[in-house]
């Protein structure tokens, strides 16, 4: 083996991140130093990590035992194709985000910039380490570091009570998930009491224990991914965090949960039963629909994007469930297709969502408004941000030739052949999943129209918006980087899928049949005759645009008269006379009424000061979390009885414990 090993390179770059973070502590108050030097350095590290990971996708796995950790418990690391893919995702997405953050963080944010730099880079480093970990100990250390550093990042503006509350909720659910993951590892070690992943790979678990491990892992990773009903932290934490952090969390951190799920299901547990797949499938579909319907009803732009993340994670988990089903019933090529769809969607979502969050960050910075009802018409004042965010919105809406379309198309292709699954009821129900995915995709387009239209189009709804400034240079570079990635992922799917093949092969042993098609045509399953050529699409659109422009110029008489819009003759148009964010979502809210817990305050016809207020709340919060919280409080109150507050009672407890232990030992 040559001196260079990609594993060492990755480890080195991750350590460099940690170092950058620590260096930030040297000059904690200097925004210039942190912003001009450290963050761009971190971005370079990320880019380098992406390159190393991409190059090493097809290489065989490598392992290493590190000298860090406890005396008898060293940390093991391993890099295989799956790790490389997610490292690539981490590096590439974080590069763009770090550049944006370099221009974004300014004084007066709550936490000192140097401290922010430390937290940010520790976050990045811990995510990298999660991906490299090869035993449960390293994994959990990295996982918890990730949760903790992101908690500090979320509560950057810790002066505000609602942000503290959001952070607390986030940490709570993260820990509940971590306990589940820990328990899952505990089941998977299968009696050997060795917590390395190699031991888990070798352990042969009885089917019910394997199922338990799977379900526990699903619970834990689902909590981190924001699957319904463990999603309640997402819409609170993502808006509370500063925008680059939201982008990182939504774009990259949620994908570590996908990584964890894939690692557990296909690597550690080895043989997955087909019926296990139904669980993530159902929850995924439900999350997708739930997320998008709630996104349609939001008035805060970052909450809208957070719910959209829930939807996309739902789609990814649906793909996971589908893959498990196909592989379990012995349809390897379809299983491979589903796996490729979910991996591709993870990649896509990282870039699309980051782009959108960064766009909202720029808007928030220049207008100070998060509420959709107070934005509008920003395309005139902030053209760079507007056009780059448009690419993100189009990608998220799933329009060809951008990247969102490819992964959704692949997933739907996988669904459409699910009627061949040789199990009696399932083969009838699975195609319904296709309908639900299609519904979620259509509603996602609706949500993106609302998002983009209300913020950037129309008339400004507040006078202060006329003073909005466009984004700075560093911010633009970050946005452009992510937008170009969206284009690249969208226009060159064959290359991307070529890169993903090695991952899929390694994970499942299944292979996509190789298609003898030219590089610009995507044909996932040659015998099924479905194909897609984004380049042709793109060229066709470009051609139409160019031809139309040419024709108009040639034949146009050039007599132009500018006039105000037709207003039925009364001449008093103002900015209130355009659709509001809630108004745009009202039909969805009306149709999907049962999802929401609605509170209405309606005026009567002859009120002199009519008031109208409708709030759409989360039913799951009311039905599940509030009762749970009340129950916990009641239990705690009961147990409080033990806390008598008198020394003599506590001494009695110690004495009783001693006696009992003595009795047990003797």
């Amino acid at each position: 083996m040559s001196v260079y090993s990609s594993l060492s390179a990755c480890l080195g770059l991750i350590a460099l991140w940690g170092l950058i973070g620590l260096v930030g502590l040297l000059r904690p108050m200097s925004v210039g130093f942190v912003g001009r030097t450290l963050f761009p350095l971190g971005a370079l590290c990320g880019a380098a990590l992406a390159v190393v990971a991409a190059v090493s996708l097809a290489s065989p796995p490598e392992q290493l035992t590190l000298a860090v950790g406890l005396p008898d418990l060293p940390m093991h690391v391993r890099r295989d194709a799956l790790t490389s893919l997610f490292l690539f995702l981490l590096g590439a997405a974080s590069a763009g985000i770090s550049v944006f953050a370099a221009g974004y963080f300014r004084r007066g944010h709550g936490t000192a910039p140097g401290l922010l730099c430390l937290q940010y880079h520790m976050f990045l480093a811990s995510m990298g380490f999660v991906l490299l970990a090869n035993d449960a100990y390293a994994f959990m250390v990295a996982w918890e570091t990730m949760a903790l550093s992101s908690y500090f990042l979320v509560t950057t503006q810790h002066g505000l009570a609602e942000i503290r509350r959001a952070g607390f909720l986030y940490l709570l659910i993260a820990h509940v998930g971590a306990i589940a993951i820990l328990l899952s590892f505990g089941v998977m070690q299968g009696g050997s009491w060795q917590f390395t992943f190699d031991a888990m790979r070798g352990a042969h678990l009885a089917p019910q224990w394997a199922a338990t491990a799977f379900l526990l892992a699903l619970f834990g990773f689902g909590a981190k991914a924001g699957l319904v009903p463990l999603h309640v932290w997402l819409p609170e934490a993502h808006p509370a965090a500063p925008s680059p952090v939201s982008a990182l969390m939504s774009g990259v951190m949620l994908k570590t949960a996908v990584y964890g799920m894939l690692r557990v299901t296909f690597d550690l547990l080895g043989h997955a039963q087909w019926w296990w797949g139904l669980v993530p499938l159902t929850f995924g579909l439900f999350s997708a629909l739930y997320g998008v319907v709630f996104a349609a009803a939001q008035t805060d732009m970052k909450r809208l994007l957070a719910y959209s993340s829930i939807e996309n994670m739902g789609i990814i988990f649906t793909g996971l469930g589908l893959a498990i089903v196909f592989l379990g019933v012995g349809m390897p090529s379809l299983g491979a297709l589903a796996l490729i769809a979910l991996l591709y969607h993870s990649l896509n979502h990282a870039f699309m969502k980051s782009l959108l969050f960064l766009g909202t960050g720029a808007v928030l910075h220049s207008t100070g408004e998060r509420n959709l009802g107070r934005l509008g018409g920003l395309i005139h004042r902030m053209p760079w941000v507007a056009w780059l965010t448009l690419i993100g919105a189009l990608a998220m809406a799933g329009l060809p030739p951008l990247n969102g379309f490819v992964s959704e198309w692949l997933l739907l292709q996988a669904f459409l052949f699910s009627n061949e699954v040789p199990r009696p009821f399932i083969n009838m129900l699975l195609p319904l999943g296709a309908a639900l995915v299609a519904l979620a995709a259509a509603l996602a387009a609706y949500v993106m129209v609302k998002f983009y239209g209300v913020i950037f189009l129309g008339q400004p709804r507040e006078a202060s918006l006329n003073r909005a400034q466009d984004a700075g240079v560093l911010e633009r570079i970050g946005l452009i980087w992510l937008a170009l990635s969206c284009f690249a992922l969208g226009l060159l799917p064959t290359y991307v899928i070529g890169a993903l093949r090695s991952v899929v092969e390694q994970l499942s042993g299944a292979e996509l049949p190789s298609a003898h098609a030219p590089w610009w045509l995507l044909v996932p399953l040659p015998e099924r005759r479905a194909s897609y050529s984004p380049l042709v699409f793109f060229l066709a659109i470009a051609a139409v645009v160019v031809v139309t422009m040419f024709a108009v110029r040639l034949f146009y008489h050039r007599r132009v008269r500018r006039a105000p819009p037709w207003d039925c003759g009364f001449g008093g148009l103002n900015s209130r006379m355009q659709d509001s964010a809630e108004g745009f979502g009202q039909p969805i809210r009306h149709i999907f009424g049962p999802f929401f817990a609605m509170k209405r305050e309606l005026p009567s016809p002859f009120d002199h000061a009519p008031r109208y207020r409708v709030t759409a709340g989360d039913r799951i919060w009311l039905a599940l979390y509030l009762p749970l919280g009340t129950l916990v409080r009641r239990v705690a109150d009961t147990v409080m009885w033990l806390q008598q507050g008198r020394i003599s009672t506590y001494l009695l407890y110690s004495f009783v414990t001693l006696v009992v232990l003595l009795a047990l030992v003797v």
Binding site: A563, G569, G571
Partner: protein, 179 residues
Amino acid sequence: MRRRLFKNLFTAPCTEPVTEGAATLEVAGAQLRGVIARSLGRSLAIREVDAGSCNACELEIHALSNAFYDVERFGIRFVASPRHADLLLVTGPVTLNMREALERTYAATPAPKWVVAVGDCGGGCGVFADSYACVGAVSKVIPVDLVIRGCPPTPTDLLQGLLELLSGGAALGVNTRHS
């Protein structure tokens, strides 16, 4: 409904058999088609504006679209926005409250455009002409190409008037406008 549609297939159309009055209408109709084709090369889009009429003219304009007169067979149709219109059909003595709306409507119509004032009120000789609240004839507010008189003018009068406008307007000394 299907039964009725089926029955209508075998019933003679209402659109009138040729009698004395209808002959004038039919000829007017055919001439109209030829003239529109020469002048505009497509159908005529009309935007109707009520500038304070008593609604009788509107009722007769509505009647133009029924199966007996059926203006659409001549290529004439009514549109919802002045931006889509070639012709403004204005009724009523222009009330001062409607003056600005009428001017805005005229400004919103793209050239080439024509204006037809309908009824005695539109022509300035109706019973409301001297009121404090009315401007009077439509021509006092926007340039008018033709006046079709009547209280209210019958649908036949309306069609004949439109034809005269588009064939060069000998009867009332108009000039077609290409502003």
